[in-house]
Amino acid sequence: MAQPVIMKSNKYGIILILDPEIPFQELLGHITDKFLESDKFFKNAHMALSFEGRTLSAEEEYQILDTISQKTSIHVICVIDSDKEREQYTKQRVEQQLEEDSGNTGRFYKGTLRSGQVLSCETSIIIIGDVNPGAKIISGGNIVILGALKGTACAGADGSENCFVVALNMNPVQIKIGSIIGRSEDKGLLASIREHKRTTPEPQVARIADGHILIEPITKNTFNNI
């Protein structure tokens, strides 16, 4: 064999084709080199690993995985044999992990959203700035506004009703969570500014309670059941 270790990849992970002849310690060295070369490319990737070309003992497999996790930033989720059933299982695991990842990630937006501007994204979003009246944020997940919400916010745009909207200064025209819409009181903008000036703004959270949008101050327990 020309190369003692060949690295191949498919959508779900990496296949290592190993030389059956050379001593294990030497092979381990080659594997380490291979992964170090491609570490930048695979940075923090979640993947499945499978071995071909050589039968490894449990101890040897363990040593290889140990080396990879110590020397690189790759997360090996599992090791697969080449048989079909287990491959199917691996696919499921990896896809599940990817889905969980996307559920936990969000986007950042820095700047004030002004009248007529619409910001829409599939994940949760954190706005660093104000959302002015006439502006609108639409998010498939949660919305966190590190500033004032004075416009319209739609959380859980895909219909999910356990999403929330947080703002440091909560004075929205309208909030929609899932399919439930809540709107501001019927008073003029001037009156609303006056009222907000009288009270010092505190961070508040809007969520669904009993089929209505409920806005309340954030406490220690707010996020326990979300």
Binding site: G111, R114, S115, G116, D130, P133, G134, L190, I193, R194
Partner: protein, 261 residues
Amino acid sequence: MSEVIVITSGKGGVGKTTTTANVGTGLAQLNKKVVLIDTDIGLRNLDVVMGLENRIVYNLVDVVEGSCRIKQALIKDKKYPNLSLLPSAQTRDKSSVTPEQMKKLTDELREEFDYILLDCPAGIEQGFQNAIAGADRSIVVTTPEVSAIRDADRIIGLLESNEIRQTQLIVNRLRMDMVKRGDMMTVEDVCEILAVNLIGVVPDDEQIVISTNQGEPLVGSDALAGKAFANICKRIIGEDVPFLDLQKKASVFERLAGLFK
């Protein structure tokens, strides 16, 4: 280095044209070479406010279409030879000019003038796009009313997305008596909503109506609005001028005293 400044508001009737006339005249009083361009094609009125209507021969559309040279269309002010006006066309519409043509025009004018002020039409359509095409910075005029502020917010968003970096705010027609009674938004309220730098506050002043009707900009006069515009001009050229105390009702005596300060 010359600067192209667009004066805009979104909403109509908040005082863009009056502001353009007064700021332009004020900058000319500070010995700057200034040209005012009325970009409101079809609704020409900056020339009326400047009292120069009777001198119009060629207009903006003639210039961009090449029917005349820029020099031929520029009208010199009655009082200040370093102030010129490029009037709008009354019989055409906004589609007679493209943003590219406006940019070319303002770039040519940069060679001769220190400040090129563009009086923008109301709205966000082609007239607005034309007016902002060549601008380096913008002055947004608003009154302390919810409708004007909402439109100003929209305009500021559009200016940002058109990469006009520096936007400053004039709060026009403020009535201190109403603010004191709590019936009008304060300047702080307006600034908090719009979150842009304030460059001036102009009080509601009947002298403005009188001066507009006479075709003589008020800037530089003793009237409070005239002083406010003069201060705005100084801030435009980079001077640090404190804001007028509008709380104080200036009596005749105080105005006289102010003259000798």
